[in-house]
Each structure stands twice: as structure tokens, then as C-alpha cells.
């Protein structure tokens, strides 16, 4: 089947076990019928999934995460699409510097961003509000939205646009009917990756979240800090399953490799 030797395949097997084990163990423990942390040996139970319903903090946090993720990705795209078109099509002074500025949230540690936002929103009186959380998430997901849109705008065939112009299309018509549909795959994947980034973000959000504006990862993190019980494993297992589904959809729709390529030089 493979050109790899047996030694390579043993290494590969151990590696895959290493990568999958922590995720698998969370999903297994979530199905324990016991009242304590244990890998279910005799029979699975959904009791800890049902228990989530009795703990409204997790449900609320889930909705906050969903809203923040969806809204911040849309807002980020509203800013990122024009910027991406400008960067993709024009050579101007300060182009590199602007790109660096727009990608800087990848390079600034999220703990520093969290502190900066906390200070900023406290000073401006927005601390602990939904709006503050939204703005902060827009900044954090912006580079992902920009990068995928930029890739689409750079690789776009411009002859269709020229044809539309020669046929008398106006600016707005041109954008709405030609440019946007052509870069749409990039925009949609940019939205999806931005959503996932926002949905997973914990380090920065933990500084900003107040009761009522806690996102799911923050709620999980704060819960784990107090104690680890099967409830938080069932919540985590649900998050893992949701992410996996999104992952498979994203892979079908756009190709995971291309989406993840947006990650590959985030430290640079």
C-alpha cells in the first residue's frame, strides 16, 4: 500500500495514537455511566450529556460563542474584502506595511491582545459588554478573513471584469455581479475559518468575558480551573463533534489543506 518502510509505519502509528489519544479519551469519558471520571468499561451512558441541559451556563455560553463567532466573522469580512482587493490589485507605497499591520494579530500573543483590549475597553466604558467582545473578536479573526480573501482576489481572472466594464456595468454592479461571485469561495472559507478561530479563542476572551458574555471555551476553562468532572468532558466532546462536522464540511467545500495553509505562517 505504501512506499514507507515498516519502521516508518510503526513511527506513524505511534504518532497518530499520540495525536488522537487526548481527543479520544475526552469523548470516551463523556459516555461514562459513573458519577466520577472514568473510561466506561461496562456500558455507555448519555447521562452526562443530559446533565448539560441542567447547567444553563454552558448553554448560554454556547449561544454567546455562536453569535460572537458568526457576527465577528461577518464584520471582519466587511473590512477585509475591500482591503484584500486593494492589496491584491495595487502596488502602492506602504503596501507591505499595511499588510503587516492587518496580519499583526497573528503575531501579537493573544494574552497581550487580551490585556490591551481589557485596558482599552475599561477606559472607554465598554468593559464586559457584548460589543467589546465582538470588536475584540473582529480583530483576532481579521487576518484569517483577509488571507483567504486575498488568495482568491490574487488568483482571479480579470478578463470577465473587463468584459463587464466594456458592456457598461457600473461599479456596484461590477462588484456585486462579477467580482464578488468570483472571489466568493475565498470569502466563504475565510468566514468559516474566522468563525472557527473565534469559536475556539480562549486566551484573549478570558480577559474580557464577564458573567453573561462568557464564551463556551472560557466557560469550560473556568470550570476546569475549579474541578474536572464528567460534565465538562461531555461538553468538550460535544464541541469536538461539532468541530469535526465543520471540518468535514470545510474539507468537502474548499479543501482542508488550502484552509489550513492560512495557518502555516502565522508566527511570521
Amino acid at each position: 500500500m505504501s512506499r514507507n518502510g515498516s519502521l516508518a509505519l510503526i513511527f506513524h502509528t505511534i504518532f497518530v495514537i499520540f495525536m488522537v489519544a487526548p481527543i479520544l479519551v475526552v469523548c470516551l469519558v463523556a459516555f461514562t455511566p459513573e458519577g466520577y471520571l472514568s473510561v466506561p468499561m461496562n456500558g455507555f451512558s448519555l447521562r452526562w450529556f443530559r446533565a448539560i441541559a441542567d447547567y444553563p451556563e454552558f448553554i448560554n455560553a454556547f449561544w454567546v460563542s455562536l453569535w460572537i463567532g458568526a457576527a465577528s466573522s461577518v464584520v471582519a469580512l466587511l473590512f477585509a474584502v475591500p482591503a484584500a482587493l486593494a492589496i491584491a490589485r495595487y502596488q502602492f507605497r506602504g503596501r507591505e506595511a499595511l499588510s503587516a499591520l492587518f496580519l499583526s494579530p497573528l503575531m501579537i500573543p493573544h494574552v497581550v491582545l487580551g490585556i490591551a483590549f481589557l485596558r482599552f475597553f475599561t477606559q472607554t466604558g465598554l468593559s464586559g459588554t457584548f460589543v467589546a467582545l465582538l470588536i475584540a473578536h473582529v480583530i483576532v479573526v481579521f487576518p484569517f478573513a483577509l488571507r483567504l480573501t486575498l488568495a482568491a482576489a490574487t488568483g482571479m481572472d480579470r478578463s470577465v471584469e473587463m468584459a463587464a466594464v466594456s458592456l457598461g456595468a457600473g461599479n456596484w454592479t461590477l462588484f456585486r455581479r462579477i467580482t464578488l461571485p468570483l472571489i466568493l469561495p475565498g470569502v466563504v472559507s475565510g468566514w468559516a475559518l474566522a468563525f472557527i478561530q473565534s469559536f475556539d479563542e480562549v486566551t484573549m476572551t478570558v480577559f474580557l468575558a464577564a458573567p453573561g458574555t462568557e464564551t463556551l471555551p472560557v466557560r469550560m476553562f473556568l470550570y476546569i480551573q475549579d474541578n474536572i468532572d464528567p460534565l465538562v468532558t461531555s461538553v468538550s466532546a460535544s464541541v469536538i463533534v461539532i468541530t469535526m462536522l465543520a471540518l468535514i464540511l470545510l474539507d468537502r467545500f474548499y479543501g482542508l489543506e488550502r484552509v489550513l495553509a492560512g495557518h502555516s505562517d502565522r508566527g511570521r
Binding site: 500500500m1 505504501s2 512506499r3 514507507n4 509505519l9 513511527f11 506513524h12 504518532f15 497518530v16 495525536m19 488522537v20 487526548p22 481527543i23 475526552v26 473590512f79 477585509a80 475591500p82 482591503a83 491584491a88 495595487y90 502596488q91 502602492f92 507605497r93 506602504g94 499595511l98 499591520l101 494579530p105 501579537i108 494574552v111 497581550v112 490591551a116 485596558r119 480583530i139 488568483g155 481572472d157 480579470r158 478578463s159 471584469e161 461599479n171 456596484w172 461590477l174 462588484f175 469559536f199 475556539d200 480562549v202 486566551t203 478570558v206 471555551p217 476553562f221 476546569i224 474536572i228 468538550s236 464541541v239 469536538i240 468541530t243 471540518l247 489550513l260 495553509a261 495557518h263 502555516s264
Partner: protein, 307 residues
């Protein structure tokens, strides 16, 4: 809005599919850039400047933040060995997690790249997928695996006869390093994978036809060519590990402080914001210097490969 700018540009050149930006030296298309630019000035640059300023403010147990300019926080970090130890621990953990990720991630990327089509895609998904799963959920997995003396890892290692007595993983640097390496591993695999895509398979075949063994090929053909990928992956993993928060916090517990968890404590428990800001600013400066410095070295050293 975006139309007017793009139309003029489109009319000027007759190279439709060209990806190259045109109009060299022209003025920036500000109508398109201004919204994002203003957003970033207002919500990134200004807050960062405020944070730097905050690190120079004074703080007292009963007075709170005092708006004076003082070097007190910086002097405290400079003179108190506690901070020296904490930063040393932060960078030690990040360095070892990076080493761990490189030693296991690079060979795995190579093995993945040699797999046949359905398996290649499947395992790529399995290995890179965790990148998108919440860090908290992944770290919880390690907390469950380590879990005290009868955690699953210890049970497995003792059943296999590799150890006699359980090793402590929870609340130790070893545990944090392993969990961090796992969290960051996809970045390393991805980076080496990208480098491998640029390797011409013909070179490998040429070496093979000239009688080179597998180890020789890896050592003399593959390794030199993927080294930039390993190094740039290493920079990413190091930077993210040194500023990691959730993993060191959950696995390391309350006593094993790193820069990010200490800054969090100063902000949300002790409420000494100026000191927390100083720690965060120092972390930022250290990381920017390390990233920019090592990028420059890598690019100079491997300029051939990037060309």
C-alpha cells in the same frame, strides 16, 4: 466603492489572469483600505500603546492605579529573581516543546508525504484536524490522560513494563511540555509539509539511481531542503508555546507560572494591572525580537531554497 478602483486598474493592463499588482508607485487606494486601517489604528495600535503606558504607571494595594510615570514595575521585574525564574521557565518550556514537535513532526510530515492518495488525505485530516479543535478540549484530554498517579499514561507505561513507579505529569513542566507539543504539533507538520511540496522528487530518484541508501537520501537530500520548513515551523511553535495560556494553566496548575498565566493572575486576581502589563509587554518584545531575529537568520542562511 471597490468597483471604481478595480475598473481603472483593469482597463490599464491587458494581462487579465496576471496575479501581479499593477500601477507601481501609485497612490494607495484609500477608499478600500481606510475602514480597515482606521479599525486597526483605533482597536489595535491605541490599546497596545495604552498597555505600554500602563506598564509605567504606579499601583498600590489601597490606591489602585496611579497615573504617574515610574519605572517601578520594570525595576521590580529586573531585580526580583522570581520574574527571572518565571521567564526562564516560560522559554525553557517553549524551547523543549518546539524541539519535541520538530523531532516527531518533521519525520511524520515526510512519512505522510510518501503515503498513497486516500491514506495521505485521511491522515493529514487526522493530524491537522486537531488544530481546529478547542485548545481547552485538547488540554482537558491530557489532564484526563495524566490524571494523578493512576492516570492512563502511567497505567499504560507501567503495564508495558517501561516504568516501575508512576511519573508525575500533572502540575509538572514535563506534562506542560508534552501537552503543548501536542497542541502545536499540527503547525510543525504543516510547515514541513509545505516545504516538502517544493522538493523535486527527481532529485531523490537521481540520488537513488546513483546508489544512495535511504538514510543517505534523507540526510543529504531531504533534510537540507526541508530545514527551512522545520525552522519556520519551529519559530511558530516557539512563539505560540511561549505565549500559551490555557495549556500551562490547566496542566501546570496554580503554582507552575509562565508569563501568560502570571499576567492573567496580576490582572484578574491581584489586580496589579501595571505589573501585569509590564510582564505582557516584556513577553511581546522578547517574542518579536526572537521571531524577527530568527527569520532574518533563516532567510539569509537558506536564501537559495526560497528563491
Amino acid at each position: 466603492m471597490s468597483g471604481s478602483a478595480s475598473v481603472t486598474a483593469a482597463q490599464e493592463t491587458a494581462a487579465p489572469a496576471s496575479a501581479k499588482p499593477e500601477r507601481s508607485g501609485a497612490r494607495a487606494p484609500w477608499p478600500l483600505l481606510l475602514p480597515a486601517f482606521i479599525l486597526f489604528i483605533a482597536v489595535v495600535i491605541v490599546p497596545l500603546a495604552m498597555t505600554i503606558l500602563l506598564s509605567f504607571h504606579n499601583w498600590g494595594q489601597y490606591t489602585g492605579i496611579q497615573f504617574v510615570i515610574t519605572l517601578k514595575n520594570w525595576q521590580e521585574i529586573w531585580s526580583d529573581p522570581y520574574f527571572y525564574e518565571m521567564f526562564a521557565r516560560t522559554f525553557r518550556i517553549a524551547g523543549l516543546a518546539t524541539l519535541f514537535a520538530a523531532i516527531f513532526g518533521a519525520p511524520e510530515a515526510y512519512i505522510l508525504n510518501r503515503m498513497r492518495t486516500p491514506w495521505k488525505g485521511f491522515f493529514l485530516l487526522v493530524i491537522l484536524g486537531p488544530l481546529l479543535i478547542s485548545v481547552v478540549a485538547r488540554t482537558l484530554g491530557w489532564a484526563l490522560l495524566f490524571g494523578g498517579n493512576n492516570g492512563l499514561v502511567n497505567k499504560a507505561l507501567m503495564t508495558l513494563g517501561l516504568m516501575d513507579s508512576p511519573l508525575p505529569f500533572m502540575f509538572t513542566e514535563t506534562g506542560v511540555i508534552i501537552a503543548l507539543a501536542h497542541v502545536m504539533m499540527p503547525f510543525m507538520v504543516l510547515s514541513v509539509w509545505a516545504a516538502l511540496q517544493r522538493v523535486d522528487p527527481q532529485i531523490e530518484n537521481a540520488a537513488l539511481s546513483l546508489g544512495a541508501g535511504q538514510m543517505t537520501i534523507i540526510r543529504r537530500i531531504i533534510l537540507p531542503q526541508i530545514m527551512p520548513g522545520v525552522l519556520s515551523g519551529g519559530i511558530i511553535v516557539f512563539a505560540l508555546s511561549a505565549s500559551a495560556f490555557a495549556t500551562p494553566s490547566i496542566i501546570g496548575g496554580r503554582r507552575l507560572k509562565v508569563a501568560a498565566t502570571l499576567a492573567y493572575d496580576e490582572f484578574l486576581n491581584t489586580l496589579n494591572w501595571p505589573l501585569g502589563a509590564a510582564v505582557a509587554v516584556l513577553l511581546l518584545i522578547a517574542l518579536v525580537l526572537i521571531i524577527v531575529g530568527s527569520n532574518a537568520i533563516i532567510e539569509r542562511r537558506y536564501s537559495e531554497v526560497f528563491r
